[in-house]
Subunit: 249 residues, 2 copies
DNA sequence: GTTGTGGATTAGTGTCGACTAAATCTCCTG
DNA sequence: CAGGAGATTTAGTCGACACTAATCCACAAC
């Protein structure tokens, strides 16, 4: 008999899922590993491409065979469509699950910076663990406390509770022509050293700037910061990580 | 070769443990299960007693053999001293680990009620999961935001960051003699129904009251609430759960 | 078209933490 | 002090996820 297992399942589920509100569909609760794999596939299969075993393995720091096995399991769960030896993409269900985790991650990051004094270079790791433990209700409460924000501290868009996400088309500072008037919108690195450097120099989302100059052969870009008019030299490596929107003149 | 495993361990640890402050000793990071078992043993071996396999099994809703196995593992880790067929108690190390988890749990509960609008009957489950995912740093930040509180929403004492915990000696309302002047300090149930009922009737920690009457044969206790002077009849079952301190006259 | 090579999968293990069924122990009771 | 009830442990499995070693496939280059 499986009496014990049943009792457990029941106790856990009835207290959290039942009673409260209409509640979202609520899949059978995915494990931490599964959620992290789904996020990885989401981020690697940018705009309809496929995520390869190797890239997933690199991103999650696991061995390639682990990814192979997991993709098979995800495929059995209907979360991923995979072509052996080719790669995988998310199904609609998998995409929803990924976006739910991403929403949690980004709301958490913003909450930690806004309400608990964390710096933007330290929130990622914390959110990476918490995203699997928080309830939807808690995330909604945090989002409310934050006034339903649209972007996380790094400028990444926060998916809505019903799984929609904004897609902006941005140019990296490294690619913007000299003379462009830009608004810095996203910082696509998680490296604490780089993040600290950027924050120290005022290079955070929302910044208005003009591209003043760029040296050839991978040389640095010089920008003029908008409010102050001060100049700032940004090396190629960092410039690539600064995603900007062209400002309406 | 174990190159991959090493890289992982390093990456994880160096970003969290290294750099920041002197940092607490930081054991090799215990799993969720291990932490929950340690808490169970702590709570069941009140004041130097031993926790039995069966009671742990009941509390954690697992089968008895699972407990047997886990106790052996905990014993091997030096977290528990166990006498086969008799029971287990925490070692100093195990006690420290348990108190660390309990601190997290209680700080989380209080933070959720104070800063995120959760009711005291809903915070337990959320904290039960989050306690294993939060960092010490986050807990300290929450504690700071709460002004280093000494009690959680249910009146349970919050262990300090260095592992000390207050022990008050309280009487249950069910045992307090008629005429006692009491302060309600702790509510020792987690049942949401009971908690909601108690809150609805003003029976929360901090309440000043006088025992006005008690019916015999397990009958109800009548109390006079202090500020208002209103009377309240409390059944035996609830009275047992209300832990009070005798008020200095 | 064969072939090489890097990427992917299979095969075989290991660990953690759960389970059921079957021994085994403890201790109360007659 | 023998029996028996109840608690505990052992024995045997299982699923989720990781790993290494060995094999397999795709595709680009000759
Ligand atoms: Mn994660
Ligand atoms: Mn972010
Ligand atoms: Mn827990
Ligand atoms: Mn509590």
């Amino acid at each position: 008999m499986t009496a014990l297992a049943d009792r457990r399942r029941h106790a856990t589920r009835s207290r959290t899922a039942a009673r409260r509100a209409p509640a979202r569909p609520s899949l059978p609760a995915l494990s931490r590993s599964v959620e992290d794999y789904l996020k990885a596939v989401y981020h690697l299969s940018d705009h309809g491409g496929v995520a390869t075993t190797k890239d997933i393995a690199l991103k999650l720091m696991v061995a390639a065979p682990s990814v192979s096995m997991m993709l098979k399991r995800l495929s059995a769960l209907g979360l991923v469509k995979r072509v052996p030896y080719q790669g995988a993409q998310l199904t609609r269900e998998g995409r929803q699950a990924a976006l739910r985790t991403i929403r949690r991650h980004r709301v958490l990051e913003l909450y930690l910076t806004r309400h608990l004094g964390f710096a933007w270079d330290t929130v990622h790791d914390e959110a990476e663990r918490l995203e699997h433990a928080v309830s939807d209700l808690l995330i909604d409460r945090m989002a409310t406390a934050l006034d339903n924000p649209r972007y996380d501290p790094h400028g990444d868009p926060i998916p809505t509770a019903d799984g929609r996400i904004e897609s902006a088309d941005l140019v990296s500072l490294a690619a913007a022509p000299v003379g462009s008037e830009l608004e810095l919108r996203q910082v696509t690195t998680q490296d604490p050293e780089r993040l600290r450097f950027l924050a120290d120099h005022g290079l955070v989302p929302g910044l208005q700037l003009t591209v003043a100059d760029r040296q050839p052969f991978g040389g640095p870009t010089t920008v003029r910061l908008r409010p102050a008019g001060t100049r700032q030299i940004v090396g190629m490596e960092l410039a690539q990580v600064l995603q900007c929107r062209t400002r309406a003149k």
